[in-house]
Amino acid sequence: MRDVAFWVLAVVAVAGGVAVFRVGSMARATFALLGSLVAVGLALLLLGLEYLGYVIILMMVMEMLVMAVFMVMYMMNPAGLMPMRMTHNARWAASVAGAVFVLLATGTFLLPEPVRHGRPPADPTRALGLAIMGPKMLVMMIIGVAILATMVSSVVLSVNRRHPGRGC
């Protein structure tokens, strides 16, 4: 049952990823990517990572909506009504990506089944909370500083210097 669910989600995730670069409409591309991300979020539920799975769904829906806004803003053909190509070196890129996939997949299957250390805790969410508030606090502090730096620099980059005070 869980295996079937996993393979269905895996196929949805990869098919969504492929669809991102195949469809003409930017809205469809964004939501294909959202489908792929949500499928991975749901796959994490199969591993018992309830909290992280839902957080991924929550964040990715919001993120993809923001992305859709920018896609429509900056693409010259957002609805895909005029067929046009927006790629360069597509064949070269496809062969590099294919080679990387073969390499990584071969490496994966040459890997011996790893030894499992310990068992999952009864409540992984609690374990995560204790970890980021205890031994892994430095990681979260660095993330916090990175978020602040990103906020400041994105405002600096996107503020309009020619017409200060105006949004665009």
Binding site: S25, A27, R28, F31, L34, E50, Y51, Y54, V55, I57, L58, V61, M62, M64, L65, V66, A68, V69, V72, A79, L81, D123, T125
Partner: protein, 294 residues
Amino acid sequence: MGEALVLLGAVGTLALCAAVFDAVLAVPGGGAGEPLRRVARLLLQQRRRTRLADTLLVRTGVCGLLAVAVLAGAVLPLGERPVAEMAVGVVWFNAMEVGAWGALWLVGWGVNSVYPLVGGYRFVAQGLAYELPHMFALITVALGAGSLRFADVVAAQRGLWFAVWMPVAFAVYLVSAVAMAFWGPMDGPVSDDICGGVPAELSGPDRLVFQAGRYALLVVVAAAAVPLFLGGGAGPLLPPWLWTALKTVAVLALLVWSGRVLPTVRMDLFTRLSWLVLIPATLLQLLVVSVVVL
């Protein structure tokens, strides 16, 4: 299985009640039968089409709105137990209701028409404004209860309702609930100045499902206020499910009524209010609750 049917029945009934109450408020003395007449009309209406509409995206958005509302309701306790008992039910609830952003934007974009598109963008702006205060209100509740599980949140309010000792979080939750269901003073995405906004080009069954989804979302966000802030099914004499139903109806009536008496808030004013007042207020509330819990 039985609980799922109860949930669907309860959401449907309450949504119809909300629509009838709204119609009565709109036309004092009459209008109580208007929602049912409208349903019959929409069921028989012929579909109107726009040029080069992205039908797949529109259908996804229309059905998605109803789907996320019902899925968000799945973790709410119907009296004793919810349909799906989850250790992180509050996060699930939040993740599902954000799906409304996607649904509205998809409908607004997909029909290929100006006013729905304006409405869809308005809702994304509104979402960016209400979501952070909303999340902080939910976090405050989870902090007060020490758990993300709805059952624990209800159990933590046995002594004192969270609405009493977290009034700021409760008020912010109600504001964000209204904004989430694009209802009342926060109905910019579907307001009259853009000819009805997002659903302007929808007709027939599409429009019916969209409106059902909107009412279902309003019912679910009102119902969530009960376990989060109003003690869930706790109360004297009556059984828990009846208390839950009574409190839900009270919150729902308040929201529907506020939608009729308050004027629509302009989006830029709401964004300013949200970032400059609501977020600091919820953060202070969070601080107070943390100190008390410690």
